[in-house]
């Protein structure tokens, strides 16, 4: 096949309304048939979300790149198994990325990681102009709005689990919650987020 070039036309409004992006369902189907051009378009439409989440979870940009690459490879390999009846393309692929990122963070659990790289991570995000653009995007604002409707402890538990990659037991300890309570907070928070955003109904 021809070397794949950037298509140039389908770079979506970053973080923009999901409906404005190329049809990810069709792209995934084509990927399942081995269409590398479709995969390049899928990459262009999702790489900021994929990389941004990976870097937020694993903190170290070089490791985040590795995680993103592994995740994209997995997405390509399993693209034919994506079932639109079971969920959205973004939900499906970001679930894959998140699992990889969390597994990485746990397996590479250098005792110093979280403290030592915290500063790095903040800088990486601060200095990225696209992240700022994304922050200003409508979708990101809606999500932030929905998050604001969670109770503080729900939001904290959810963010520590999702972005921190901590287990619910660790989250309980960090938030001084009785063991077994954090999982309830996480679940309640997610339900609230889901219902406020009207997804996954």
């Amino acid at each position: 096949m021809e070397p794949v070039r950037p298509t140039g036309v389908d770079v979506p409004a970053e973080g923009g309304a999901r409906s404005g992006a190329p049809d990810l369902v069709e792209l995934l189907k084509a990927c399942g048939r081995g269409d590398q051009t479709a995969f390049a378009r899928l990459y262009d439409a999702t790489s900021s979300r994929v990389f941004g989440m990976a870097v937020r979870v694993v903190r170290d940009p070089a490791q985040a790149e590795e995680v993103a690459q592994e995740a994209f490879l997995e997405i390509w390999r399993t693209s034919g198994r994506f079932d639109p009846a079971k969920g959205s393309p973004l939900g499906w692929l970001l679930t894959i990325v998140h699992r990889k990122a969390v597994d990485r963070v746990r397996s590479a659990e250098a005792s110093t990681r979280r403290d030592a790289t915290y500063h790095q991570q903040n800088q990486a995000v601060e200095h990225d102009s696209t992240a700022e653009a994304a922050a200003a995007s409508l979708e990101a604002r809606r999500v932030r709005g929905a998050l604001a409707s969670l109770t503080p402890v729900q939001r904290e538990a959810l963010e520590l689990a999702y972005f921190g990659g901590y287990t619910h037991t660790e989250v309980a300890t960090m938030l001084d919650l009785p063991v077994g309570t954090a999982k309830t907070r996480i679940r309640d928070g997610l339900i609230r987020l889901r219902d406020t955003m009207g997804v996954g109904a």
């Binding site: 993103a68 969920g87 970001l94 999500v143 309830t184 996954g200």
Partner: protein
């Protein structure tokens, strides 16, 4: 709500440790309610990525596109068709032309060196037959005929080569299957004719075996009929 159901949210954000994750996944297999809830909560969790979008380094795109070029996407999810003792079915249905084949004969690995007699590149079956890690499994069929399955884990391909295979009954056709654990996945249909070379579609590298069954022509069965006429085990 019992404890295990309450793990749905933590599972959706990968906040279970290894043991809990395995336990909950087992539970998911049995609990439709939790499957639906987890799916919806994963959708919700994925929204959080909207708030952290960050342009990746430019080099990542090339790395990713290069890496996928060497990997074949998996075939669609197999239908959940449990193999109810294929072995026993096969024994039960001692189809005439297979009567003598009580066991799979493993002829052994070893690459054939394909010889390029024309300018044409070797076919995929020829490449497979010549692969360094090729495995070869042969069964007698019909009156002096044979069916041989070749498999290469490295190439992630398997093929069946038939010689002197009897025609299926009227209105029937031979269907190919790959077996993964207790699941059989349809892997193609044999064309007409007694001598064929056919690649299996599907994930051959991880398959535990292959089979040929007789099915009503033109149907797309999701699991083999009882009429399994050849079964190849990849265990060596």
């Amino acid at each position: 709500m019992s404890d295990i159901h309450a793990l749905s949210g933590a599972y959706a954000v990968d906040a279970l440790d290894g043991d809990e994750r395995a336990q909950f996944e087992q539970h998911l297999g049995e609990c439709e309610t939790c499957r639906a809830e987890v799916a919806s909560l994963q959708e919700a969790a994925a929204l959080l990525a909207e708030t952290t979008a960050t342009t990746p380094p430019a080099g990542l795109r090339d790395q990713v596109l290069t890496s996928i070029a060497t990997v074949r996407p998996l075939p669609p999810e197999p239908g959940e068709a449990p193999v109810v003792s294929l072995e026993s079915r096969r024994r039960r249905r001692a189809t005439a032309w297979l009567a003598a084949a009580a066991a799979v004969v493993v002829i052994g690995g070893g690459g054939l060196v394909w010889q390029q007699t024309h300018d044409e590149p070797p076919s995929r079956v020829e490449q497979l037959q010549a692969a360094g890690d090729v495995q070869r499994f042969s069964l007698p069929v019909g009156d002096g005929g044979s069916a041989t399955v070749y498999r290469s884990e490295h190439l992630n391909e398997a093929a069946i080569v038939t010689k002197g295979m009897p025609a299926p009954p009227d209105g029937k056709e031979y269907v190919l299957w790959l077996q993964h654990g207790s699941t059989m996945t349809q892997a193609g249909v044999m064309p007409e004719g007694s001598d064929n070379k056919v690649l299996f579609s599907g994930d051959a590298a991880t398959a535990d075996g292959a089979a040929v069954s007789i099915e009503d022509a033109g149907t797309e069965p999701i699991q083999p009929s009882d009429d399994v006429v050849a079964l190849f085990s990849f265990d060596t």
